[in-house]
Amino acid sequence: MYKIRADMISWILHKITGFAIVSFLIFHIWGMSQMSKGPDAFNAVIEAYKTPLFKFGEVLLLGAILFHGLNGMRIILGEFTRWAMDRHRLLLVLTYMIAGTLFIIGGIALWRAE
């Protein structure tokens, strides 16, 4: 029962974080297209990034990417190697632990950065 639930949570989290990253991708490609309009248009975008709302979003984005990327690699490993298939439980726990640790370290660094 517990095993099924833990898998469900990672499955749902993978979808939510994937959707969040695509939303950001749309925004990010638009933002970079402002480069073509020169320094003033681009700097206006950069200034907006420095507001607390965007910085908070940036921290959430980091968390989404860490989880989605690491969990995705775990899924691939589990589908292609017998080794990972046999260590399914351990790798799921490791995914959460590594993503969580990097999220805390990186999130604090991002929040503090200029």
Binding site: I26, M35, P39, N43, I65, G72, M73, I76
Partner: protein, 142 residues
């Protein structure tokens, strides 16, 4: 899943694994290598040379030099190739993920293909927007 075939499934794994690597490079280059705290411009060494020493450090406001620092990276052919690959992978992987979810969740016989095609269309528009930005960017204009 099976309705979309195993080719889509496999491509999603391949593009995902490649994104794991390319996103790492992208993040390192743009947000660490030349990001905050690395504003010693000597660190921008790679094919990304001055651009008139970053337009005289953006007329002596170093924070304004970010544009020119990015511009000098953007202008380097190696990063143009990298960015086009990165945009392609991102648009494919991200929007295919949405299509996969539409196909799993939407059962309506008309809405399902309509939503899927709209998603592919949105991906294409975004891809064009990104690639045009990368290819057409010319730092000498500014």
């Amino acid at each position: 899943m099976s309705s979309r075939g195993s080719k889509g499934w496999l491509l999603q794994r391949i593009s995902g694994a490649l994104l794991f690597i390319t996103l790492g490079v992208h993040f390192y280059i743009y947000h660490y290598f030349m990001g905050p705290g690395m504003w010693g411009f000597e660190s921008i060494g790679y094919g990304a040379n001055d651009l008139e020493t970053l337009r005289l450090m953006a007329e002596s406001d170093p924070t304004q030099a970010r544009f020119y620092a990015l511009a000098s990276l953007f202008a380097a052919p190696v990063w143009k190739v990298f960015d086009i690959l990165f945009i392609t992978l991102g648009c494919y992987h991200g929007f295919y993920g949405i299509v996969a979810n539409i196909e799993d969740m939407v059962t309506h016989p008309t809405w399902r293909p309509v939503l899927s095609w709209l998603t592919y269309f949105a991906a294409f528009i975004l891809w064009v927007m990104g690639v045009v930005t990368v290819i057409s960017f010319n730092p000498q204009l500014f």
